[in-house]
């Protein structure tokens, strides 16, 4: 008997739960205080936004909202690793990445507030909009990457997908295309341990989600998704490879969804308080703060001021959202086609007449 193929999955972590830098081989980024503080501030901003969005939903001012609580390091790292020219294909809780790309909090709120104008956001016009049909965005990123390859553009397409999403054919097809065509594609699996109520262990018998990329023939790694430094290093490597024609990769970011699945969910039905309490020990913001404070790069006073500033900025965005007038009835006909066909004009008139009573 001989071995036809063998593989290993590396696990990347630099900052442990307590914010201590592990090992001797720390990357230069771990000493880049300015970049780390910027990332930390964005993580805090994302969390403040998240809390206020949930509160808006609870008071009836927002529809169902998908929280990103606990996943801030993963998303903020993605946002800072991409350039504006790259294409981002998010799923639905990627705000920490999107804010860095210019998406405004008010636009996130518009989307969950039932208004398509949220999808016409201020981020790069080539970025894909939020994607609710699970894992379908992975193929869009692969298609975008194929376009870059055909046109010989030094651009990268990055898709995010959940742990649940890795069960779907679209995900497998996308990473397979990434391997088969050697695409400038990076797929980040945001493994937050649950797909609504289904725990990660029930989603697949595979030991890691990263190893699914091995079957697709692409470089694959598992990363502590709550460790901003590790996420940065993994993304930087994968994006550079993609940009320089070395093909696609998969990053499994191991994190935890500290919130309910969405505001329509009650996670107490399917997971224990103890498990959630333990997960709070590993959350990303606390650990990065401890690391920064250990380097005297962040003070309690700065923390207090910055959180107040986040609250002020988010409140201003919420006001802008709440002040946005509902779209006119006829908006549902706009953009159905490049130009409104004659056949639809009659229906548009009917909708308008009905709305006027």
């Amino acid at each position: 008997m001989s071995i036809a193929a063998s593989f290993e999955i590396e696990y990347l972590q630099y900052l442990d739960e307590s914010g201590t830098l592990l090992g001797e081989d720390a990357p230069a980024f771990a000493r880049d205080v300015r970049a780390l503080v910027d990332a930390y501030k964005l993580m805090c901003f994302t969390r403040v936004f998240d809390g206020k969005a949930i509160a808006l939903q609870r008071t009836g001012k927002l529809g169902t909202y998908a929280s990103c609580l606990g996943m801030e390091a993963t998303y903020v790292a993605i946002g800072s690793a991409l350039t504006e020219d790259d294409v981002f294909a998010p799923f639905y809780r990627d705000y920490g990445a999107q804010f860095q790309r210019g998406v405004k909090p008010r636009e996130v709120l518009l989307y969950w507030g039932g208004d398509e104008r949220g999808n016409d956001f201020s981020g790069p016009a080539h970025d894909f909009a939020w994607c609710v049909p699970i894992a379908t965005q992975c193929l869009h990123a692969a298609g975008a990457a194929l376009a870059f390859k055909i046109r010989k553009e030094p651009r990268v397409a990055l898709a995010t997908v959940g742990d649940g999403g890795t069960s779907k054919g679209d995900f497998y097809a996308a990473i397979n295309a990434g391997g088969a065509f050697a695409l400038p594609l990076v797929v980040v699996v945001v493994n937050n341990q649950y797909a609504i109520s289904i725990p990660r262990a029930q989603q697949t018998a595979a030991k890691t989600l990263a190893q699914k990329g091995i079957a697709a023939g692409i470089e694959s790694v598992q990363v502590d998704g709550n460790d901003l430094v590790a996420m940065h290093v993994a993304l930087d490597h994968a994006i550079k490879r993609a940009r320089h024609g070395h093909g696609a990769s998969l990053i499994e970011a191991v994190t935890y969804r500290l919130s309910d699945h969405t505001t329509a969910d009650d996670a107490r039905r399917y997971r224990s308080e103890d498990e959630v309490t333990a997960a709070w020990e590993r959350e990303p913001i606390k650990r990065l703060r401890a690391y920064l404070q250990g380097m005297n790069a962040w003070t309690d006073a700065e923390e207090k001021d910055w959180l107040a500033e986040c609250a002020r900025r988010v409140d201003a965005e919420i006001d802008a959202y709440l002040e946005t007038r509902a779209p006119p009835v006829t908006a549902m006909f706009d953009h159905t086609y490049a130009e409104l066909p004659l056949d639809l004009e009659r229906q548009r008139a009917d909708a308008l007449a009905t709305a006027k009573g």
């Binding site: 039932g114 609710v132 289904i198 779209p327 549902m332």
Partner: protein
């Protein structure tokens, strides 16, 4: 007799049939421990175990394909799509296999599976959670397509769907899941899958509808009644195969027909009913058939969804146009 709402009618039918027939299994995302995102399968896993109430990995093509395999080998799968907007990946398995298993094997293999999903708009849900997609399935030969619109009909029609020897698409109008309660006996009595239900007798105009629009259509009938107009209201319930005779009998009496559905107008199932009226009932009609439907645009996000869905005013206006003509 317990007072239950529509979604409890679903749960009751599933529990009844699982207890009666060990071949019945329920599978889908979050249907087990969580009891379904709408609570349709609540308590079933505790009662019947995780082998019969199966929390699946996340892939609708997989769920549908597993259901085909289960059904072909003597099980009675009830597969759930969490929302109708996530049924699209199931269509390959449903159209290419479930619907034609019996035909292509000359009856050697069959597919007694139920594919159920919450259906339609009006609950302020996110994108892709509010579509009315029944017409995608009514054009697939070999399927039954059923939409329940009351607690009692949810119970009786779902029992019938599970017992039916062929594949059934079973839609549940989520907007009226909890609209009201009524007495439903857990007597295991299935309702027929080949009849329309006449919900109100009338002689001036026939209002034909299904799903959540039954609510608005009955309200429109009330509004018309206040003006002395007696509308007959028909809940089609089983769109395919269609009980056209019940609709035709009504139109012979009223000579006027309004069809109401929330799916888009073009290619909506109302077009099929209108075509049959043109073929078989033209001389019974005193006015052109009216259709009140969703518009031919993607279902808008929730700020505009109520402007998209047919409402009482549009139904009443259509009925009056029909009454004024001829």
């Amino acid at each position: 007799m317990p007072q239950i709402n529509l979604i409890e009618g679903i749960t009751l039918a599933l529990a009844h049939e699982m207890a009666r027939d060990p071949a019945v299994v329920v599978l889908g995302e979050d249907v087990g421990v969580n009891g379904g995102v709408f609570r349709a399968t609540v308590g079933l896993q505790q009662k019947f175990g995780a082998e019969r109430v199966i929390d699946t990995p996340l892939d609708e093509a997989m769920i549908a394909g597993l259901a085909v395999g289960l059904a072909a080998q003597g099980m009675r799968p009830v597969a759930e799509a969490q929302f109708e907007g996530f049924m699209y990946p199931m269509i390959d398995q449903i159209a290419s296999h479930a619907a034609r298993m019996r035909t292509r094997t000359r009856g050697r293999l069959t597919c007694p599976a139920v594919f159920r999903a919450p259906w339609g708009g009006g609950i302020h849900a996110p994108e892709h959670h509010s579509e009315a997609i029944e017409a995608l399935f009514t054009n697939i030969a070999g399927l039954r397509v059923v939409i329940a619109s009351s607690p009692g009909r949810a119970y009786g029609l779902l029992l019938a769907a599970i017992r039916d020897p062929d594949p059934v698409i079973f839609f549940e109008p989520k907007r009226i899941y909890r609209q009201y309660k009524e007495d439903v006996a857990d007597d295991g009595e299935a309702l027929p899958l080949d009849v329309c239900f006449v919900l109100r007798d009338g002689w001036d105009v026939t209002l034909v509808t299904w799903g959540a629009q039954v609510k608005e259509t009955l309200e429109a009938a009330d509004a018309l009644a206040a003006e002395g107009i007696r509308a007959e209201v028909i809940d089609v319930a089983t769109l395919k195969p269609l009980d056209f005779d019940t609709i035709h009998e009504s139109v012979k009496k009223t000579h006027r027909c309004v069809i109401v559905h929330e799916a888009p107008y073009t290619g909506g199932f109302g077009g099929e009913i209108a075509a049959r009226l043109a073929e078989h009932a033209l001389y019974d009609l005193h006015a052109p058939v009216e259709r009140v439907a969703g518009y031919d645009v993607p279902m808008p996000l929730y700020k505009l969804e109520m402007n998209y869905l047919p409402n009482v005013a549009r139904i009443v206006a259509a009925a009056k146009r029909a009454l004024a003509a001829g």
